[in-house]
């Protein structure tokens, strides 16, 4: 009698999984690293790992939708003669014209204005689409200085010095040739169709002492009227925040690694920086140590999706949040109605991130005139406004349940963590315990 030896089931490697092998084959075939847009896609400790402790007996809740819960925020109250006041603590993050189409920029401006908040320019200068439709506009001052001019500096409402961003702390910009239209080329003083590599460092300052003098210059140029933000990618949030404060920032913008980018190396997006959740408490600690918490405002960005995320960021000590990817989704990015066209690009309407190729079926991350027509700035702006208002309502609802009459009154005490990692990073107790890893009990 012969013994039947069943074949061993093929075992796939956890290290060399299908995605990793496809990436090795792609690199071998093309000789270039994978470039994409967006932020980190891997699962990271995030706001979902925190929960709010609503009021019961030991805390007294406010009546939902009836008792007032403020959402306004003032940014730039430290030095600027004209600080900004926003109706909601949710701003639109810097996204460049060039990366985004003109109608997309207009939609962002329209939506933010209806909701009572600000938009931010991006690498590539200020467009009439955005300035014309954004009541409050933050003008980014980037290492590339593409399109930078004093006329736009004088007509913005705040200036954001970009030192880094969460998707690529320490990395420069990258806009590949296929998206460089005549207009983009002219705005950036570069030939059409070439890859635009922007520097990772500012060309005319090299450290925090220089930054202080740079901020002085920008204040002098704009007669000390406009708030100066300093934006850093989340990597060493305690020291970067402290140095930004020392340099004279009115506002610190802290972008965690779930924050998006128009285009950079996949390996950079997924392997450099810190999760947003892990960035907030060290930054707040720096502000508190310097006696500047709530005096220098903190804006947190990187993967903010709903009112719960907003409320959690504020509870951890932020003054406001900023959204980029979520705003693009609200105005139509990766919309399922273009599913067939996304599939033709070998992707899906939920995963499209090759924004650098300029073929975005939604017409948002492209300079293709035909595709751009798909964005109706008025309708898209309305959708963004709706979304922003929903986020604010959600945050208010949570704040009232915690007994707060302003979203800024949320505090770490209102939170618990679902995982040990989140507990350690957010420095709130693990649910059902008084334990914070690395800290003693109560």
């Amino acid at each position: 009698m012969s013994y039947h030896n069943p074949p061993t089931k093929p075992r796939l490697s956890a290290t060399f999984d299908e995605y990793t092998m496809s990436e090795i084959r792609r690199a071998a075939a093309t000789g270039i690293y994978d470039i994409r847009g967006g932020g980190a896609k891997r699962k990271l400790p995030h706001f979902d790992d925190l929960l709010f402790l609503g009021a019961s007996i030991s805390r007294y809740p406010l009546e939902g939708y009836r008792e007032k819960c403020g959402t306004n925020v003032v940014l730039g109250s430290r030095y600027a003669k004209k600080p900004i006041e926003l109706k909601i603590p949710i701003t639109i993050a810097g996204m460049s014209f060039g990366s985004l189409s003109g109608p997309a920029k207009e939609a962002l401006g329209r939506g933010a204005t209806i909701a009572g908040t600000s938009t931010t320019t991006g690498d590539g200068g200020m467009t009439e689409e955005e300035r014309g439709h954004s009541q409050t506009l933050v003008y980014q001052y980037l290492p590339s200085r593409y399109g930078m001019n004093p006329r736009d500096l004088r007509r913005c409402d705040a200036i954001e010095i970009v030192v880094g961003q969460g998707a690529k702390p320490g990395g420069g910009g990258m806009l590949l040739g296929q998206k460089i239209s005549d207009r983009v080329a002219e705005m950036r003083t570069l030939p059409k169709g070439i890859d635009q590599r922007s520097a990772s460092r500012h060309p005319d300052w090299t450290g925090p002492d220089d930054l202080e003098i740079k901020i002085l210059e920008l204040r002098e140029i704009t007669n000390w009227e406009k708030p100066i933000y300093v934006k850093v990618g989340g990597a060493r949030p305690y020291y970067d925040t402290a140095l930004a404060v020392k340099a004279g920032a009115d506002v610190v913008v802290l972008d965690g690694m779930q924050g998006g980018t128009a285009a950079t190396q996949e390996v950079f997006i997924e392997h450099v920086g810190m999760p947003t959740l892990a960035c907030i408490r060290p930054a707040v600690q720096a502000l508190q140590d310097l006696g500047m918490h709530r005096k220098v405002q903190l804006i947190v960005s990187g993967g903010i999706r709903n009112g719960a995320d907003v409320a959690k960021a504020l509870a951890l000590g932020a003054d406001a949040v900023s959204i980029g990817t979520a705003a693009l989704i609200a105005i139509g990015e990766n919309d399922p109605r273009w599913a067939a066209e996304y599939e033709a690009l070998h992707t899906t309407a939920a995963a499209y991130d090759d924004w650098h190729e300029g073929k975005d079926p939604a017409g948002i991350t492209t300079q293709n005139p035909e595709l751009m027509k798909r964005v109706d700035p008025v309708a898209a702006g309305r959708r963004l406004a709706n979304y922003l208002k929903v986020m604010a309502l959600e945050a208010q609802t949570i704040a009232r349940a915690c007994g707060k009459n302003h979203v800024h009154n949320l505090e770490p005490e209102d939170l618990c963590a679902l995982t040990i990692e989140a507990s350690a990073m957010a420095q709130v107790p693990l649910a059902g315990t008084s334990w914070i890893p690395g800290k003693g009990g109560y």
């Binding site: 200085r145 003083t189 070439i194 060309p203 300052w205 002098e220 140029i221």
Partner: protein, 228 residues
Amino acid sequence: MPTFDLAVTPLRDLNQALHDIAPGDNDLQFDVVNPRGHHAVASGVHAPVSIDIHGSVGYYCGGMNEEAVITVHGSAGPGVAENMMSGRITIKGDASQYAGATGCGGLLVIEGNASSRCGISMKGIDIVVRGNIGHMSAFMAQAGNLVVLGDAGEALGDSLYEARIFVRGKVESLGADCIEKEMRSEHIELLAALLAKAGISDVRPEEFSRYGSSRKLYNFNVDNAEAY
């Protein structure tokens, strides 16, 4: 002729007065004394005014200048004429790092030497340096002209885009993608005009070499990966 003594008058008052100049104003000649290394002197000026600064200045003198004619009768710290749009800035002495950085237009004349990264990321400005320039000058320079009567340091024109570089002396080394190019008649003509504009008449354009981009880095090619 208004005179501002920065030993007694705050810098803010000087800059505010310069920013408040309106079309039709009569006071279009300003003197600044005792600058004593102050930063951001005459930055953000946007009027056809003449400003003479008697002494040396710190960082970012004449930053983002538009239309003004500024003369520093001394030396300048880092970032002089950064992001200048138009007008003219003359430094009678030496200039520190990043002179004319990201400048979009106008003319910057440095009668002494300039330090490293002169003309970094320049976007249309013309820079004329009578002396030498330091390393990494014209790094990622996009447009405009950098003219050097003396020598240039290491890695001149690294990752250069479309800016033109003219050097009369020796070049320590060229940066990635920067090559020496033929001086054709149109370049002689252009250079002669720049020298004349800078008030330089004791050198001839034919004595200069021209450098520019080989454009090999304009679109990614893995075979040039060492240069990225």
